[in-house]
Amino acid sequence: MFEGFSRFQKILIPLISVILGLIVGAIIMLVSGFNPIQGYAALLKGSLGESFYIGETVRQITPYIFAGLAVAFAFRTGLFNIGVEGQLLVGWVASVWVGLAFDLPKVIHLPMAILAGALAGALWAFIPGILKARLRVHEVIVTIMMNYIALHFCNYLIRYVISDEQNTTDRVPETASLKSPFFETLTEFSTMHYGIFLALLGVIIYYIVLERTTTGFELRSVGFNQNASEYAGMNVNRNIVLSMLISGAFAGLGGAMEGLGTFGYGFIHGAFSGVGFDGIAVALLGGNVALGIVFAAALFGILKQGALIMPLESGVPTELVEIVIAIIIFFVASSYIIAYLLQRLKKGAK
């Protein structure tokens, strides 16, 4: 996103976008008769004010990290994966399915369930990947369409295959669960689970694969310039498919976190979970770099978790946060104009 900007701008633009988003949120609260200071105070209290809320926030951050990594990985290799939401849903269902279908000791069962999530996500992303590589079909539209197919397909699986015409599946057994008694006692029985360690591990893997391996170099190179990479002897098509596979695997892992950790079961979704779409915002805001994604996911986790308490504490509807996130995306996307204004300001100062 921020190619061609200086290092300073790369950090400044997301920061300015967040501040502008919060300001617009404050204005909307003012106009609709709420006190913005009270609103934001409630948001902070509801996300970081008590150990329970902190636990819930961390739990919220976990899938955001994976979703952000998924979008960012594709971004860095020149692809736009809007299908993270769908890949996350199939990952969720697959992990729960494996969790329910087998009776194994935890050391085998849990990794197997998690891997099933990653695999399902990768498989779902393989379709847009192969279509892009072989037939040059634009991945944006295909991934959007795959989201809806995933939604309906997963709902069907949950109702008719995994459960007995129920709206939810059974809970996954202890051997396939990420639930953490340790975190539960630490955070007054929040739903915080071990997934956060996996998410951070994912961030490290993301960094190593992309920045420290030859494959990562090739993938980024294809993202920068397909023709030059082709000329340098790289297999562009193979890299496109590989990139989508890895991106989808991250997304599927995000789903596994929800399926094995947060909820512990699968259920029929009337609409999208939204985590995958928020992943787009997380990746954009984090500038598609590992550390940036962690910060961005933390910010979105805080906003989303705090938003749940806002109506009780200050009367401000939860959706204020959706508006703030939309404004942040808007300004990050319009980074050109921010950079331009920054430049004008600098010149003006001289």
Binding site: I141, I325, I327
Partner: protein, 318 residues
């Protein structure tokens, strides 16, 4: 069930379900023909549905029978204004069109539900007092057999078909349409010929906002009759699918929208048809999306997008 009754149910539910899709898809055609990707169609529908419902509830008492029609005009106006956000971001601020569209979708849903909670104190509005009602088209309805099947429906469905024909005429038979297409195919060449690329693109995006708002409004006034977070779920994306499936042609988009409308209504009423009872419901629900992928992959005839789609035009840069 006799064949005629089945046909009657099918045609009626198809026309009902496809009208909002046709309007919105036509909006998509205008925007994309000018070179601006519009993933934000969903958000435009949301804001259209929201404003139509709120206006309807607020003014039903004083405006009476005229309420639904004025509600639609309001939805169009609000949709047009709302689309300016996308226009400013993607045309003037050189934002990635897809990202800006995603922001529009978030913003519309967030703003709509926020205001509904603030104004009505609940997650959804009450039922609208003045929905659009069934009408028989005079004269045509009197044609035996065909009349009751095809000409007994919401007037908006016929307006949608009429607007599609007008859109075809505008895009392919007027100087404005020629300019619109040239801006989407080769903005630099268009600029050289003295066409104001920015102005054309702004106009196209606002038209898409007006039509998207209308589509959302029609959906709210005929089908959902309330507004909540779950009112528009994927309609805008199906409309986008119809744009592609219809190969960026207004009449093609209309045909695709009707087909998708049929698929949608089959998913709801399909169980009453013996032939379809065995098809799992999800297959029908997912059909529009799967077909779009097949169309893009070239299995159903090649569909080529306008050449300059998705690229910001920067004056003076080659």
């Amino acid at each position: 069930m006799s064949f005629l009754t089945a046909l009657d149910i099918l045609v009626q539910s198809m026309l009902l379900a496809s009208a909002p899709l046709i309007f919105t898809a036509l909006g998509g055609v205008f925007s994309e023909r000018s070179g601006v990707v519009n993933i934000g169609l969903e958000g435009l529908m949301v804001i259209g549905a929201f404003s139509a419902v709120v206006f309807n509830i607020t003014f039903a008492g004083s405006l009476g029978d005229a309420t639904p029609w004025i509600s639609l005009l309001v939805a169009m106006a609000v949709g047009g204004v709302f689309s300016l956000i996308h226009a400013v971001a993607s045309i003037s601020f050189r934002a990635d069109h897809v990202v800006s569209g995603v922001a529009i979708n978030f913003l519309a849903l967030g703003l709509g539900v926020y205001l509904v909670k603030d104004w009505y104190g609940a997650g959804q509005t009450p039922q609208i007092p003045e929905p659009i009602r069934y009408t028989n088209i005079p004269l045509l309805y009197d044609i035996p057999v065909i009349g009751p099947i095809f000409f007994d429906n919401y007037i908006t469905s016929y307006v949608a078909i009429f607007v599609a024909i007008i859109a075809w005429y505008i895009i392919f038979k007027t100087p404005f349409g020629l300019r619109l297409r040239s801006v989407g195919e080769h903005p630099l060449a268009a600029d050289t010929m003295g066409i104001n690329v920015y102005k054309m693109r702004y106009t196209a995006v606002v038209i898409s906002g007006v039509l998207g708002g209308l589509g959302g409004g029609v959906y709210a006034l005929t089908i959902s009759q309330i507004f909540s977070a779950g009112t528009i779920t994927g309609q805008g994306f199906i409309a986008l699918a119809a744009v592609i499936f219809g190969k960026w042609h207004p009449l093609g988009a209309m045909g695709a929208a009707m087909f998708f409308g049929l698929a949608q209504s089959l998913a709801i009423i399909g169980s009453s048809f013996p032939l379809l009872a065995d098809v799992p419901n999800w297959v029908l629900l997912a059909a529009p999306y799967a077909l779009t992928i097949l169309a893009l992959a070239g299995f159903i005839g090649r569909a080529d997008a306008p050449k300059a789609i998705g690229t910001p035009y920067i004056k003076g840069k080659r």
